[in-house]
Point group: C2
Chain length 205, copies 2
DNA sequence: ATCCTATTCAAGTGATTGATTGATTTTTGT
DNA sequence: ACAAAAATCAATCAATCACTTGAATAGGAT
């Protein structure tokens, strides 16, 4: 029963692993560009330079593909926070993580918008996300108490602004470009944001 | 030849106008909820309580529907700015305009993400958008010069933060809720944001 | 060589969807 | 009441798409 009709894709050989990864990478691009409903499995296969039925073979179809991507995103999220970083470094890291992988970020926004076909993300995963955010808020508050950044603004606000400015270039690139006057993905934009945030959170003299 | 097969939808009678509007309203909901690729014309018709072929009859199909919506959005954008408002009032107005019409806002984000089937927005319209943003920056800068808000932060930054915090609840509601700990569409959130922005832009004593 | 895995090929199925057509019914204005 | 407009109904079309099936072929390892 274990390998009745189809061979079990779980026992991945060393060589096959690479094409799996290429398919996933292509899927990130395609889903990021078109969203789930707009993405085409044929396009994913073409991007990966691979035959179309391999995605059914390895991931059980389009839906299985997004689920695998979500799993990876969850795993990646767990290990991001650099421990002994300053506020500016922390913000810069988050900014880089978001803007260096625009496809991933677009994918996240699409999921948040309810792109359809999503099992609405399990409670467990949602709870973990909440914890991550709460910890981030707590970390920010500690920075305030230690005097690294100002206590004039709520910790939640400081954090929210940083996150919002990281995602705005993805969700509304034209708007950001129109206001900031620079490519929202560029190094210039990031440094400018970090600098302005530093001023915003500077302690009153 | 003028009215050979189909009657001309342009000469809209007074009564028909209402169903046109209902279809458009339903379209905003559906497109806002699912995006262009995910939206279904049948669902739009059902939402409007109207027969499915009316959307072909009045708007020439799914695509014509989004185009009409884009036209309306462009028109609505032109006349929003209250003239003699304070910074806080202006921010609050923008926040309300965005969060009181979440479907419209979601639609905008979807278009910005390149939902597909879009003629990629004409140059003319893009230029007009740019002008609007530049004027907003200019207005902010004037506020700084007049001493209404601080000059410590760049005018572009002050504006961008306000806009980003208006759209974040739409693009990433879970994240905002997790950080702020409140419904991102609620009055509480809006007032909190306005208050924090006021502190952020307060002049140094 | 040969076995096993990875990958490709060709063809086709089933389901969904947007759109069309022609005729009929309801509503509206006069 | 009458005529035009507005809307519904039923049936159908053509296209797209994800997925399946049953093979055949290429490659690497032994």
């Amino acid at each position: 029963m274990a390998s009745s009709g189809r061979r079990a894709p779980q026992e991945h050989g060393k060589a096959a692993e690479r094409t799996r990864e290429r398919i996933l990478a292509a899927a990130v691009e395609e889903f990021g560009a078109k969203g789930y409903a707009g993405a085409r499995t044929a396009a994913i296969a073409a991007r990966a330079g691979v035959n179309q039925q391999l995605i059914s073979y390895y991931f059980g179809g389009k839906q299985g593909l997004v689920e695998e991507l979500r799993r990876r995103w969850a795993r990646a999220q767990e290990s991001v926070t650099p421990p002994g970083a300053t506020y500016a470094e922390s913000v810069a890291a988050h900014l880089d993580a978001t803007l260096d992988n625009p496809d991933w970020s677009r994918l996240v926004i699409w999921q948040a918008l309810g792109d359809g076909s999503s099992p609405e993300s399990d409670d467990e995963w949602a709870a973990a996300q909440r914890d991550r955010l709460r910890q981030a808020v707590e970390r920010t508050r500690r920075r305030q108490e230690e005097g690294e950044i100002t206590g004039e603004l709520d910790a939640e606000f400081v954090l929210l602004v940083a996150y919002a400015l990281a995602f705005a270039p993805i969700a509304l690139p034209r708007m950001v470009e129109g206001i900031a006057g620079a490519d929202p993905l560029s190094k210039d934009y990031r440094e400018w944001v970090v600098g302005q945030l530093a001023r915003m959170t500077a302690r009153q003299p």
